[in-house]
Symmetry: none
Subunit: 415 residues, 2 copies
């Protein structure tokens, strides 16, 4: 079977000036490959109309499927709709559904539409509109010289929405049905890529048409298995059998599959037990609370917390003793213990989790270098503490600390 | 004046399957732009020899400078040297310097070289070798149809080494020592792309060799002006003159230039005034504190705050009256006012900033839809409040709320 040739075309000056890294085309390449297409070319041009038309014609000449992003915004240098229309020899028309949405949003936000706002709700006449549920500019599909060309905005969130909601079905129809590819992702924390690799060695021995991949999504390590079977049921059965094996080998490091975050996994445990958790944060400055509250409905298990960046706040709002601070320093087992106990008591939660560390770039010492983080979890049966040393850049240290705190709580709540 | 056209060509199957994101081409695009070249096209092909040759010929036909990465390794699917040689009609030859380095390394590590190892030290006959100090495969430069074509390995560390050590000088010689390109970015908040566009219309009228661009870095809108002048001093003088005009037209929406974040701009104001700010967060759950503490040294002006996600925490830790909550609801001007006053008083800070809103996806009502956020800033002279309505997804509402809070404080501290 010859796979269908595809080309990805990204449009925008800022890409060719190197101001942003083109993550869209890698994402689309993975999607197209997953669907069974063969991405032969990826092309990127500026907002120059002549170059855009040349790129579109060449892509149509060598690929059955062309997927393009960018140039669909409201400003004068967003020219994709005009160039596509000119290439096809048709006028542009306003899409009524997206126009209505734009007008409604402007009313809701009490702002006045400029003439330019309406530029972004146009499509070439005759194009099939691919609705944008997350933004204003519609995607669309046209045919040019036997090639199906899909155009979407460059904003990754909007592009991914249009892709999943509408474009995938168009591409799948072109590629046709055959064997089904199914994928499962296991998310792990606290174990490096090479150790995951080591523990999963031989996992796929005797499993045909299956591949194993590792990827870092800092600070997590993601394990992906892709299997190809005649039907979805058969593919999922293989993945279900592997699921038991992967979890056994990775132990408490593997906390979820798919898109479930560590915060959501922790929240699900708390919800099931009817318990709550409060946070006391020093070096993370609110980041732990922020992660927990990314989960919709987190108010059922998260009452809040204290950001005690300064020692005076650790004393005044959490009841940490000044003698403890003076004797052990803010980054110490004794201080995080009192922070966790303090926030649990003052907020009346089942659990209190505390973080105090040296995030850097300055403030490190020989005894407590940048990356030293103390964690404590106070609960009905007392306090457990944990120390991590993860020398790195400020934001990476903070993120690692937040995941360490969530993982400590998740493990403690898991039977 | 016509700038020298350039094209970036990346070669490799793994890029077109989306397994890795192509960061090389963004890096090279920025370098070429900095040197004064105009990157018109970026093209990416697989290891297919026919596609590679087509891409090389097209690039040579439309760009004076072509920079390529990938396909220079030791395996059979590394075909760049062979395809370049075939396109030029010359044989491949071994580069003695890199061969000697490879032989010496093999001897030091006591391994036997296979014929394949020697594949990577070849170049097309007549090519100018660009030495690889960080790896085994040399870069090289050839001329094809009036175009200078530079080939380098795809490993970013090796590519950047060859580029800096040798390729930059080649490109600079081609571009010449003439005009200099200089760029300035203004960061704005609270005004959409189309309104920024509208306000800046005609900004560059009468300014030669200058371009204006807009870009969303949610929730900010970035304005970029690129100017080209005979010297850096002249280019910067133009940008300085435009700086006054841009700030006048955008008013308090424009808060910084370059890489300075809104959190850093607010921190700089506080530091200059010797003042501090504490946070009281409801729907943002710690995100405001997290943003403020991304700034190294923020402990000088940020003591901490209270995450009062639950109403009980608003009462217990911030002193919000239960009657205020009962009368007005948690998302109200009255409650954020008491939150801001409460955190300022309890943490003893100069300023207290409070956020309470409906982040969604549930919890919205007709009167207070998802996206409704109340903000309050308490200071020495009293309290100012502000309401925003920004219907969107949960994380976007929260991010918008955090930026609104920082912007309210920044404006109030700006003379």
């Amino acid at each position: 079977m010859r796979k269908l040739d595809a080309e990805i075309l990204t449009i925008g000056d800022e890409l060719n000036r190197g101001e942003i890294v083109d993550t869209n085309s890698a994402w689309l390449a993975e999607e197209l490959t997953r669907l069974g297409a063969h991405v032969r070319w990826r092309t990127s041009v500026t907002d120059d109309a002549g170059d855009m038309e040349e790129a579109m014609r060449r892509a149509a000449g060598r690929a059955r499927i062309v997927v393009s992003t960018g140039g669909l915004g409201p400003t004068d240098d967003d020219r994709t709709v005009d160039v596509v229309a000119a290439t096809l020899g048709v006028p542009t028309v306003t899409d009524p559904a997206h126009e209505a949405k734009l007008v409604a949003r402007a009313a809701a936000r009490a702002f006045v539409l400029t003439p330019n706002n309406l530029r972004q709700v146009r499509v070439p006449q005759g194009a099939k509109v691919l609705g944008n549920e997350k933004g204003m500019a519609p995607g669309f599909l046209v045919e040019l010289g036997g090639s199906a060309m899909i155009f979407m905005p460059g904003v990754p969130r909007e592009m991914k929405g249009i892709w999943s909601d509408f474009a995938v079905a168009e591409v799948a129809a072109l590629v046709g049905t055959g064997p089904v590819t199914s994928k499962r992702i296991w998310r792990s924390f606290g174990i490096g890529e090479s150790h995951v690799d080591h523990r999963l060695r031989g996992l796929l021995d005797g499993v045909a048409d299956a591949t194993l991949h590792f990827r870092i999504a800092y600070p997590e390590t993601l394990v992906t298995v892709v299997v190809r079977r005649p039907s979805l049921v058969e593919a999922e059965a293989v993945l279900d059998a592997l699921d038991v094996e992967v979890r056994t080998r990775l132990g408490s490091h593997a906390y979820a599959t798919g898109d479930q975050t560590l915060a959501a996994a922790l929240g699900a445990r708390l919800l099931a037990r009817g318990e709550t958790i409060a946070v006391a944060e020093s070096c993370t400055g609110g980041m732990l609370g922020q992660y927990l509250t990314t989960v919709p409905g987190s108010s059922a298990w998260f009452p809040g917390g204290i950001i005690s960046y300064a020692n005076a706040v650790k004393e005044g709002q959490l009841g940490v003793r000044s003698s403890t601070l003076a004797t052990h320093g803010a980054v110490s087992e004794a201080v995080v213990t009192e922070m966790a106990l303090g926030v649990r008591e003052r907020l009346g939660s089942t659990w209190g989790v505390a973080v105090s560390g040296v995030a850097g770039p300055s403030g490190g010492t020989a005894e407590k270098p940048v990356g030293t983080v103390w964690l404590a979890l106070a609960g009905p049966a007392g306090v457990v503490t944990h120390k991590v040393v993860w020398p790195s850049e400020r934001e990476l240290v903070r993120t690692f600390a937040v995941f360490s705190a969530m993982h400590l709580a998740w493990k403690s709540l898991t039977p």
